[in-house]
């Protein structure tokens, strides 16, 4: 394969746009710093302000010294996005490192990467005593990453050229509005509407659950961000199990589902086109897999006697599947209990749900419903072609906003990404098996959770896990969020630079 070696001009373009994204990212830390100052959490506030200062300084320096009017190509944009997630998460880790709740740079980077990729796996120590402002900051990383760092920059600070290319390079190929900036603003408007309605509803549910006053609002805001951005961080160490409240769980299920559907579908719903929204292949596929996997889980749990009453069975089983399938990673059952008290088949259903993920163009990770559907239709198409006479013309179509003929190129694309996800899931499993004492089930569970950006854990992800495994999960979260190709482009750039010739 011949790759043209990047030149100085290419590096300038990449560095300049990277600087713009880092400038935007630095401002995400600011609200949490202000909360810290308001509550008198001085050490947290100064940790956050240090993060703001360093990230802003690097961003501004890059924008100043590497300023260029050269156009940003898709190849540049792809490398910028891949680097933005790596470098952005590293710089976003500064406040977490200085908080004193992690052991070192790697733990802080892991936490920030988990937050920005909306994974939700955590290595924060003594979370239950973490300051309000630092805990809010963890959740704001979900917001920045879930809406897409580029989307945040586009919606808030959009100016100049190249942002449309970055938008496409971030893996967001849907344009629900005529241009990319209006699309970004629509996504932001949807998110803000859900923010208001979701936070108010959750606050009421939390007040009723026994968390009064501003603390109810604070919990509600954090939970909303984590649910709608399919993140998975929670303010307390016992996740959603902490609240003991069916009403809170019910609201979160709605928000998780809202987070896992694409913004194109939100647009259809926004415009009142309910029927059109329900007819798309992706909607139907997601509905079928959620119902099927929930059914398998409930039957498996019932047969194995994991729960004694139907209420508990449905509440724990259904919530866990929605949490896994949406890519959120909220837990109502301790990870240890999943291994010690859940039926193996139920655990397998959770792994499959995590691996499949939500809709393309949403905040969810995983393989995505549309790829599963297209790959399945491709297989069925080939079987039909085998069974029919050779002269028969076999045409398969699907509904994705409009009726579309299934082409080999689409099937190949879906299959390629599907296989890459499977390979990543297996690679993480293998590293866990080699480096630790865990069995295949636990190793596979944690690997899929990391690569599909889910965040459910059976207890492997802790501050004490082997460093090699921690780096593996960190890379899996990054690869899963970028859906591989931006990362491959970055590696290709690096190789062609290292080779030293054009």
């Amino acid at each position: 394969m011949m790759v043209v070696r990047p030149e100085r001009r290419d590096i300038r373009i990449i560095g300049y746009h990277l600087g713009r994204i880092l400038t935007g990212l630095s401002l995400i830390m600011l609200p949490a710093a202000l909360v810290g100052l308001a509550l008198g959490e001085w050490n947290s506030a100064t940790a956050l302000l240090t993060g703001v200062g360093i990230t802003l300084a690097i961003g501004q320096l890059a924008e100043w010294r590497l300023a260029t009017r050269s156009p940003l190509t898709l190849a540049h944009g792809t490398v910028v996005v891949a680097l933005a997630w790596l470098l952005g998460s590293l710089l976003a880790s500064i406040p977490i490192l200085l908080s004193g709740h992690v052991s070192g740079v790697l733990d802080a980077w892991f936490e920030a990467m988990s937050g920005l990729t909306t994974s939700g796996l955590t290595v924060v120590q003594d979370l239950d005593h973490l300051s309000y402002s630092m805990n809010l900051y963890r959740h704001l990383t979900h917001f920045a990453g879930g809406q897409g760092i580029v989307i945040v920059v586009l919606a808030l600070f959009a100016a100049g050229s190249g942002l449309g290319t970055l938008y496409a390079a971030e893996g967001r190929d849907e344009r629900v509005m005529p241009n990319v900036r209006r699309t970004a603003r629509f996504i932001f408007r949807v998110a803000l509407s859900y923010l208001v309605v979701g936070t108010v509803t959750l606050t009421i549910a939390l007040w009723a659950a026994g968390i009064p006053g501003w603390r109810g609002l604070w919990h509600a805001l954090n939970l909303f961000i984590a649910a709608f951005d399919t993140g998975g961080f929670t303010p307390m160490s016992t996740s959603i199990g902490y609240y003991h409240a069916p009403a809170v769980e019910a609201v979160l299920v709605v928000l998780m589902l809202a987070g896992t559907v694409s913004f194109a579908l939100h647009h259809q719903l926004w415009m009142g086109r309910y029927r059109a929204a329900s007819e798309t292949l992706e909607t139907r596929t997601l509905a079928v897999t959620i119902v099927a996997l929930t059914s398998v889980t409930l039957v498996a749990l019932a047969v194995a006697g994991s729960y004694l009453d139907a209420g508990g069975l449905v509440r724990k089983g259904a919530f866990t599947i929605v949490s896994a399938h949406s890519g959120t990673g909220f837990a109502v059952t301790s990870g240890t209990l999943l291994v010690s008290d859940w039926a193996p088949l139920a655990l397998a259903a959770v792994v499959v749900a995590m691996g499949l993920g939500g809709m393309a163009g949403s905040t969810a990770g995983g393989i995505k419903a549309i790829r599963v559907a297209v790959a399945t239709k491709g297989v069925l198409h080939d079987i039909r072609r085998l069974l029919l006479p050779e002269s028969a013309m076999v045409v398969t179509s699907y509904h994705a906003g409009r009726d579309t003929i299934l082409r080999d190129r689409e099937v190949r694309g879906a299959m390629t990404v599907l296989l890459l996800y499977l390979a990543t899931y297996l690679a993480g499993t293998a590293v866990a098996l080699v480096t630790g004492p865990w069995g295949v089930t636990e190793a596979l569970f944690e690997s899929v959770s990391a690569a599909a950006n889910v965040g459910l854990s059976v207890g492997i992800v802790t501050p004490e896990m082997p460093k090699v495994l921690q780096v593996t999960y960190l890379l899996q979260m990054w690869l899963g969020r970028l859906e591989f190709f931006a990362a491959f482009a970055l590696v290709g750039y690096a190789i062609s630079l290292a080779r030293g010739r054009a």
């Binding site: 959490e41 300084a57 005593h129 026994g210 008290d341």
Partner: protein, 237 residues
């Protein structure tokens, strides 16, 4: 092309080296400015805590039932003057189902009031029993662990405070019954308290102001502001 080689190398290498240096410096700063405030239970109280029972059952469910270390669940020896830990309970809930146990830990978060009582999280990790809450010190002992406890109204009378940011909660000794799947908690595993004794009252966690970090934040913000201003000035020209 050949002439641009050193420039290209500079564009790539210098930021990389600076970034690595920055994080090495931040790690050193983080370690070097660590506070060390004693916020844990007193040594006398620590030595008086009931010892842990000497059992560590692990179980996994097979397709139709439960398998404890490959054997049937037998009666565990739980002496009344010994306590159990959340790790033991979660490792094999079936082995403790319906058993009366002693549990010691820190009340955390909120008393989530319901009819006749409240749910509360009781952590029995090292932050509760040994070293006290972070970030008042740097003796990190991993993630939190604890149990969901149902406290009837009559047991809440002596509670002085719950743990959270800037606050260590009451250290309590609870006796109660374990329920592997509690219908009143939607099937969750709970400890239903029958007695509660406050061993050490709640106390604020005094985290000293990290003056060096104040200066670091001020320097970083000044640097950012300086670069931003210089860039603006250059653009205006």
């Amino acid at each position: 092309m050949r002439r641009s080689e050193p420039v290209l190398r500079r564009l790539l290498l210098i930021p990389g080296i600076l970034l690595v240096t920055l994080f090495i410096a931040l790690q050193a700063f983080h370690t070097g400015t660590a506070p060390a405030v004693d916020v844990g239970p007193s040594p006398a109280l620590r030595s008086e805590l009931p010892p842990l029972v000497d059992v560590a059952p692990r179980c996994q469910r097979d397709r139709t039932g439960l398998d404890v270390d490959g054997a049937v669940v037998g009666p565990l020896d739980l002496p009344p003057d010994h306590r159990v830990s959340s790790a033991q309970l979660l490792g094999c809930p079936a082995a403790f189902d319906g058993r009366r146990v002693t549990f010691v830990g820190e009340l955390i978060g909120d008393l989530l009031g319901r009819d006749g009582g409240a749910w509360v999280l009781v952590n029995d990790d090292d932050y509760a029993l040994e070293v006290g809450p972070l970030p008042a010190h740097r003796d990190r002992r991993g993630i939190n662990s604890g149990m969901s406890v149902w406290l009837p109204d009559r047991l809440q009378v002596g509670i002085t405070g719950l743990g959270g940011p800037g606050q260590r909660g009451d250290l309590v000794r609870i006796e109660g019954v374990i329920r592997r799947t509690d219908p009143s908690d939607g099937g969750g595993m709970t400890l239903r308290a029958e007695t509660l004794e406050v061993l050490a009252p709640s106390a604020p966690v005094e985290e000293p102001l990290n003056v060096a970090q104040v200066w670091l934040a001020a320097a970083a913000l000044a640097l950012a502001l300086g670069i931003w201003s210089a860039r603006r000035l250059r653009a205006d020209r």
